[in-house]
Amino acid sequence: MNMQPVILWTDALIFALLAVVLALVWFIRRQEHLRAPWRVVAQRPMAMGAALVLSVFVVIGLLDSLHYRAQLTDSPADKPQYSVEVLSMFDALVDELRTQQEKTYSAPLAMQLYAKEFVLRDGETVRDYPRLQYGGAHLKHADARLPDIARRSLIGLAQGLAASLLLFCLLAVWQSHRTHASLGTWLTAWAGGRLDWPGRMVVLIVALMLMLGGALAHLAAGYHVFGTDKVGQDVLYISLKSIRTGLVIGTLTTLVTLPLAIGFGIAAGYFRGWVDDIIQYIYTVLNSIPGVLLIAAAVLIVQVYIESNPDIFDTAAARADIRLLALCLIMGVTSWTGLARLLRGESLKLRTLDYVEAARAFGVSNARIISRHIFPNVFHLVLIAIVLDFSGLVLAEAVLSYVGVGVDPSMYSWGNMINGARLELAREPVVWWQLGAAFAFMFTLVLAANLFADGVRDAFDPRLGGRR
């Protein structure tokens, strides 16, 4: 199938960020004093487990950031026409989830709709729960549903287990070969937790994730695992698509925050005097305006701009994307103050240290003092702030979307899911699965991010130095 690649603004930024992170990793590997704390992080079981979970989210998010438009099947070959729908690599992988739409709400793993309708049965019109078009469509009788679910879960779990066993064997052979030890000694070292990395935790997390993934895959082939939403879309699909939104908000906002926080924070602390006064006034003023107000105003402005310039944004995805980017920008602009304040205090302290004085005695320029003496010595604070802020931003997005000033309503996001579910909470019986799915995904991501952040903070914070 021919296609036209589409690079949205956030895609470009995400891959630029990825490139920066990879470059940074390469740089850090070569610097002993930078590598040492990361080695500490890598030795912590909790941090490594959380990092694995995070990496699964990141991979899904990255796959979901490779966008394209498919060629319409009836368009001529010499003058191809493309669908207005922007899809991603991830959509292509889970095409069935995307296309198997029901009419409206259905409960998780159900084979019938959630509401009664008039259906034609044996020539008579009766009011009953109609069968789903896809969910459980392969079953003849409702009685066969539970055994089928159990069978599929078990097969999935078993396959996941088999795959993890295979991976573990490969790992064991490779590691024992690498360390020139016999397989037996490596295995006992692994079982006793005497490796220089948290082997048991990593293997456990990978096995759990493979088993969970296997069960989900098998169930999703026949059912809507998390049910369907109001327009009949699979909630699992929506939840997975929301990962990208969460990650974009969490990372790109930080990208906006960092230059502001680092620049203003260090400048205020290092130069003091009127520079400090001005920067302090700016962030005091910014802090005293309610963030939601600023964000709502900015989002509305962008909305008006998009609507008055429809020719710039050719697809709905582009429009939603620019609104997401605007949200990242404005959240970044409102949230740099905390880190800036921290960096200002630290720079105030560092500038009086003797090595900064010594550099000044050599007539080293301010820019060089900042880049060589101040910045490397506050970098650990920046890093801790990045990982700690990430989870806060993901949660903030949910709150903003709930209030109605978050991402575009057409965009998949956990905030929009919660907002949609809110209206149905009054229903009897309650429609809980949208809320539940959003909660489960957000909880996993934020918990993993927080656990990882804890590990990073412990390794980098000099005040906790030596305490394990």
Binding site: E32, L353, D354, A358, F362, G363, V364, R368, N377
Partner: protein, 658 residues
């Protein structure tokens, strides 16, 4: 006599299992009531850990592995924690090094003392306050009633340390443990505090465990001395015997490493440093650094031997060669060259104090007020004074790290203005006090050394790498130093790196701001020797800022004594230190604890503290503390009075005598 405290084979470890560090290893000693026992040693030898073991206040992970601690009849190790709390403060009390950290900054002094009184003496109400006031009186805090109602930050360092002592005394302890009680204080204040401790001990018949690294303090205060090295006690004896004939090579070398009056030659240094406790130890722990070590020392740990009243742990005890008298040379007093390398006239640094909404200037802190000095090439001028007198500010103002308010600086014949600051920076550099904060932990040593050359464009870029290797050799560091980070080095090595950094731009003047005050005695000797060698080979001039008069005598050709931002006495080192004229210099010189037993006039005790430079006293700044102050001192600031040989003083009293 029955000992008050008996410590027997005390072993303390930090950490668990195989990683445990043995910080105190088999230490035994006794202290009688009314006796002062001094524990002497360099940092990292386990002195403080011994004290904390006695109090059972070890840090996390620390525990007493074996041994016996008896205070009177009480077995301290066997006590449950409940009873131990009564022993702490009630039976034995501790004074810490840093009074600012040991007092709670948000509770008034009176309440902090009262707390201890309520706990240990069960006093209530007015009786508590009376007792607290009596305690402050006893430790010599003037105006005790008012001081009870102040917060710790309102008190000066000396007063805070006295409050600490008062608190320690509140439980009427039988044993007082003083952990470096005066290290953070100036000499004149140190003399006051040590006086208080001595008289209290005699009055109350307390036992005292004095922990210090300062031989002078030991000589003046201790009855018996124990020398610790790497967790072990290596020598013990009565003070007089110990000071006249130290037996252990380590004790001897500590004496040798100390700069003393009249020294001209090189100081003896102890090579290497105190071993880290995680290194495996075999044989005598001092053997790797000992010049007398024989094969047996490396294999077999020596046992105690008694030699005329002393105990010593050394295989060669008694067989060591007698101590050679050190050669006494005087500085070659070369005729003064006509041209001064550095000439400073009327240097003033005033810091404005701003208050209110529009930051109006309401006054000035006169940190440096009209300082005039000059240094010739290849010579050393020492700037001496207590903390807060503005000596560091002078150094920084000379390098324009602090913009001077007024004054003329001429360096190598060129007047330094804001335009030709880079000339100044090529010719004058600085070595800082604390080697741990003066090197950027995120930069390699080579990067640190290159920074100055890059910034001032010294030499061709291609030659700078070679210059780094050359510099490292010059300061006696191994060649691979350049590629490592500062944290891999000890304090002494870091100070060498800092010296190399200053030398990188080949300056003619180096300003040394207390470069040895953060170092141990043996390492201090290494650095002083290095500075002297560099001066001889490179013809450097030093402005040596310090409060340590012994170092001044060793290194400096001339001395300027500073008090409250002004130089009060100036002259050749020998003249000023051996025949001081100004009452302040007199007090300063006499307050330095000496190893030799005092002859001649006793120590002149100064009353009170140095006043604030924000609001200096009228007339002569020193008059409120001066024993010779008269009416004229209160009204006019004295002019220079020459007393011969380029030696001058600013004092009405001296002027009146002449």
């Amino acid at each position: 006599m029955k000992p008050l405290l008996r410590v027997d084979q005390l072993v303390t470890e930090i950490g668990h299992g195989a990683d445990a560090l043995r910080v105190v290893d088999g230490v035994s000693f006794q202290i009688a009531a009314g006796e002062t026992y001094a524990l002497l040693g360099e940092s990292g030898c386990g002195k403080s850990m011994t004290a904390l073991s006695l109090m059972r206040l070890l840090p996390d992970g620390g525990r007493i592995v074996s041994g016996d601690i008896r205070l009177g009849e009480t077995d301290v190790r066997a006590l449950p924690e409940r009873d131990m709390r009564r022993v702490r403060g009630g039976q034995m009390a501790m004074i810490f090094q840093e009074p600012m950290l040991a007092l709670n900054p948000v509770i008034k002094v009176g309440e902090q003392i009262a707390e201890a009184l309520v706990l240990h003496q069960g006093l209530r109400g007015q009786a508590t306050w009376d007792a607290a006031r009596a305690l402050l009186d006893a430790v010599g805090v003037p105006d005790a009633t008012r001081r009870l109602d102040t917060y710790p930050f309102e008190l000066s360092g000396g007063l805070r340390q006295r409050v600490m002592i008062a608190m320690a005394l509140a439980g009427q302890p039988r044993l007082l443990i003083a952990d470096e009680p005066t290290t953070a204080l100036d000499v004149t204040i140190q003399a006051q505090v040590l006086d208080v401790l001595r008289s209290l001990r005699a009055e109350r018949q307390m036992g005292m465990l004095l922990i210090t690294h300062d031989l002078g303090v030991v000589a003046e205060n201790a009855d018996r001395v124990g020398v610790m090295y790497a967790g072990e006690l290596v020598e013990e004896g009565a003070r007089d015997v110990f000071f006249s004939a130290p037996q252990h090579p380590y004790s001897r070398m500590l004496f040798e490493a100390l700069p003393r009056p009249g020294d001209g030659g090189r100081l003896t240094t102890i090579p290497g440093q105190v071993p880290k406790l995680d290194d495996p130890m075999r044989g005598c722990r001092f053997a790797p650094r000992c010049p007398f070590a024989v094969a047996r020392c490396r294999d077999e740990s020596p046992d105690w031997q008694a030699i005329n009243g002393q105990r010593v742990r050394c295989h060669l005890a008694g067989a060591l060669p007698a101590r050679s008298a050190r050669e006494v040379t005087t500085h070659a007093n070369s005729t003064q060259t006509a041209q001064a390398l550095l000439q400073v006239d009327g240097l003033k640094v005033h810091f404005p104090i701003r208050r209110g909404l529009i930051q109006r200037t309401v006054g000035h802190v006169r940190a440096v007020d009209d300082v005039t000095l000059s240094i010739q090439a290849g010579r050393t001028l020492a700037l001496v004074g207590e903390s807060g007198c503005g000596k560091t500010t002078v150094g920084k103002a000379l390098l324009r790290l602090i913009e001077p308010t007024a004054g003329r600086i001429v360096l190598g014949g060129e007047t330094i203005t804001a335009k030709n600051v880079s000339t100044l920076r090529r010719q004058a550099q600085m070595v800082f006090q604390d080697p741990f904060s003066s090197l950027n932990p995120r930069m390699r040593v080579a990067g640190i050394l290159l920074e100055g050359m890059d910034a001032l464009r010294v030499g061709a870029a291609s030659e700078r790498r070679d210059a780094v290797a050359q510099l490292l050799r010059q300061v006696g560091l191994p060649d691979d130093t350049g590629g490592r980070y500062p944290h891999a080095f000890s304090g002494g090595q870091r100070q060498r790196i800092a010296i190399a950094r200053a030398l990188a731009v080949s300056p003619r003047l180096v300003i040394c701001d207390e470069p040895t005050s953060a170092l141990d005695v043996s390492v201090q000797a290494q650095i002083l020797n290095l500075l002297k060698d560099l001066q001889d080979s490179l013809g450097l001039a030093y402005l040596f800022i310090t409060h340590n008069l012994a170092v001044v005598e060793y290194l400096a050709h001339e001395v300027a004594v500073m008090y409250l931002g002004r130089i009060v006495e100036h002259g050749a080192t020998g003249d000023v230190l051996r025949a001081p004229c100004h009452p302040y210099t007199l007090a300063l010189v006499s307050a330095v604890p000496r190893i030799e037993l005092q002859t001649g006039p006793g120590i002149i005790r100064l009353a009170g503290d140095q006043p604030s430079p924000l609001n200096p006293p009228s007339g002569c700044h020193f008059h409120p503390r001066c024993p010779h102050a008269s009416e004229v001192c209160r009204q006019t600031y004295p002019d220079q009075t020459a007393v011969g040989g380029g030696h001058w003083v600013r004092c009405h009293w001296v002027a009146g005598q002449a």
